[in-house]
Symmetry: C2
Subunit: 155 residues, 2 copies
């Protein structure tokens, strides 16, 4: 019986120990990931997205650095688990549906709760860059809606 | 029967719609959260932790800005869901248990997988600042171990 007991114990140990694809620290050097243009269907004006890191299970977090030229902004959208923005440069704007347009500046941290319809972007005459952090659940981290009109933007 | 059916349908709708404590975007302005000293039990040398945002369920992410003076470093530690570092200034070092000490520079993104024993800190004669992002599961986002000796640090 001993071999069988040992096997059962080994299987139990395997079942309880989490197994991860990665076991080594990875360093993604600055300059190794090409900048992307923010697609016209989701953004108004000129927007650059510099990838930082994708969601790698069991982690749900992904991050990117987003730069909005003056007057540029994302379309209205929601995030299933919310989003956090860390403003790194310039002056920007954020608004949730039904609320006021709010100004954001470097060092400000913006938390957008799950499911809250909102947009963010640059000020009309000043660019803005932020780190954008969100979590992927069921393969999704954003749901895009209609674009932000000039009237809504406050131009 | 109609009222009862309506009630059952309402209960079902309530059960399937997630309910969140927050429903409003919050902006935490730069300068509104005091800097903290990295505690001596977890750090060697002078380390400053500037809080960015706490984990707010259902989000598991929290973030801080950590500045290591020259020669300063974290103790060996692990994270249950891993960690991502975005280097924002200076020159630093990262090492996983059994691996080489690696240099990190501004714009580099470091991913530390779950359960991997590691440390990070400044270069011996140059300070380093990084955004540190991690996820809380079962109330925990880090497990601290022993300090990094001068020999391990490579001084």
């Amino acid at each position: 019986m001993k071999p069988l007991i040992a096997t059962a114990a080994s299987l139990l140990a395997l079942a309880s120990a989490p197994v991860y694809a990665e076991e080594t620290i990875t360093i993604t050097p600055a300059g190794s990931q090409p900048s992307n243009k923010g697609p016209d269907q989701y953004f108004t004006g000129s927007v650059r997205v510099d990838p930082l890191f994708p969601a790698t299970p069991p982690s749900r977090m992904s991050g990117g650095l987003v730069t909005f030229e003056p007057g540029a902004r994302a379309a209205w959208h929601t995030h299933p688990v919310g989003q956090v923005l860390i403003v790194t440069a310039g002056v920007g704007r954020v608004q949730q549906w039904g609320g006021p347009v709010q100004e954001i500046r470097p060092g400000d941290v913006v938390r957008i709760p799950p499911g809250v319809k909102h947009w963010h972007g640059a000020a009309p005459t000043t660019a803005m860059t932020h780190v954008a952090l969100q979590e992927t659940v069921d393969g999704r981290n954003v749901d895009w809606l209609e674009k932000v009109s000039n009237e809504q933007y406050g131009k």
